[in-house]
Symmetry: none
Subunit: 254 residues, 2 copies
DNA sequence: TCATCAAACTGGTATTACCAAAGGCGCGGC
DNA sequence: GCCGCGCCTTTGGTAATACCAGTTTGATGA
């Protein structure tokens, strides 16, 4: 038989060892997404444990969202381990900014129609703050982040806010992305303030279409800055691909 | 007694109901961090379930890091629910769908210009699959999810894909959201297939604006379904607020 | 007073049984 | 020959019980 008994010398409880063994089987590709795991009784035989133990292990996987149990049918693979653990592992700075361009553009549009006066005041204050901190690169980044998050919060939609916040934080996941952003930031502080001001003006007018356009223009400029800051040969390909994407998209939506 | 039997009319399995009941007890502050839960045998008596079921529920909590089980001693509260685990804890089904409407609309538009023929073929196949599974509500949901994720993947942007996937999975975070969606799903299977087909057609034409419109129409219909399925007075307020938001936004963007 | 040890308590695992849902297979009708 | 209905097998869901292995507690005796 392929599997046999589990190691057994671990301090873990049996169900934990079994869950780990199953996890490895999932990672090995033996059970692709959508595949059905062997029946509980079969697993019990294979691993030489009792059925309650098998159930405990499967429930552990189920709680983690790895498998989905259908009564009378079986346990099916829902997603592979490691797919969600590191959310944006390979996400590049370009992809990230492209996603922000699309999503935050819509967030700005929604915010323009939903925000309160208090939201507006907070956003306006943050535009000023980023100008004040123009010496400290760290403070600038923080103020920039606060500005974008304030707009997201003004949508009065927690899911939107949470998504925008996460996209911003994903930058920290990739060292290259963070470095690239910092590099691009050194070049141009002033344009950012101007773009933010334009965005604020659109929000003041409560014009969703103008707000969307302003946010897209802003992040489009950020994307340009990233492309400009890219010199390394390692990123040249990604840069080229990104430019091609933008052109294709721009042409089709024109 | 405070606890008594568990509701019992849910579609959840017993261990899930019990886990939820225990979760509420944790949230209520009855068991602060460090406190010991009643013994498995006691819980079994209190909730009128068997000990294996109690164990399954405790393991579900343990996997989520909420309790820590010490052999021979008991299960101890490790941290309270909602402290760190669920990013969008209070996100409602309405907020979630609204966010998806905005973001997935843009994802569809981008996908229309970036997807490969293979992407298109996969998406087309998933439209058929959801029609085939129209009897099995569980299979329908899975096919629906796969369809939306395939479109996100066709953007060739990992950040976009990841965001869409996360928004979908956030549904599972909130029991009410999942329940509401399931309820709304029972009413209308056919429209979903038609809307997906319309979306596919827009993608085939590689028309980003049409794709965005189709996706927005689809999720707008989903949102309508959710609003329709909302009867409980507890949700009435949220429903009203959501409708007001949509009207305000529609008026401003018209 | 303190060390020791046994009994009670607690979780860990196995076994068995029975129920309900799902799915496959064959029979029978059309 | 094809389609549909129903039985029968398979699968997960739950319960009941027993026994083992750690932990805790407290009673007992030095």
């Amino acid at each position: 038989m392929a599997t046999g008994k589990i190691a057994g010398k671990s301090n873990d409880r049996l169900y934990q060892e079994l869950a780990r063994a199953l996890l490895e089987e999932l990672a090995s590709g033996r059970y692709p997404v959508g595949a059905r795991l062997p029946a509980e009784r079969d697993l019990a035989l294979r691993y030489d444990v009792s059925r309650p133990t098998v159930r405990e292990a499967i429930i552990a996987l189920e709680v983690q969202g790895l498998v989905e149990v259908r009564i009378g049918s079986g346990a099916y693979v829902r997603r592979l381990p490691g797919e969600e653990d590191s959310p944006g592992f390979n996400v590049t700075a370009f992809e990230l900014t492209e996603a922000r361009l699309l999503f935050e553009g819509e967030a700005a549009a929604l915010a323009a129609t939903q925000m309160t006066e208090a939201d507006l005041a907070e956003i306006a204050a943050l535009v000023d703050r980023i100008a004040e901190e123009n010496q400290d690169p760290n403070g600038t980044e923080q103020a920039d982040r606060a500005f974008h998050l304030a707009i997201a919060r003004a949508t009065r939609n927690l899911a939107v806010y949470n998504t925008v916040e996460r996209l911003w934080d994903l930058r920290a996941t990739s060292p290259e992305a963070a470095l690239l952003h910092e590099k691009a930031r050194h070049a141009n502080i002033r344009p950012v303030v101007e773009e933010h001001s334009a965005l604020l003006q659109a929000l003041r007018a409560r014009d969703p279409n103008a707000a969307r356009a302003a946010m897209r223009a802003h992040l489009s400029a950020v994307l340009d800055g990233l492309l400009f800051a890219t010199e390394e040969r390692a990123l040249a390909e990604a840069r080229k691909a990104t430019q091609a994407k933008r052109e294709r998209y721009a042409r089709a939506t024109a």
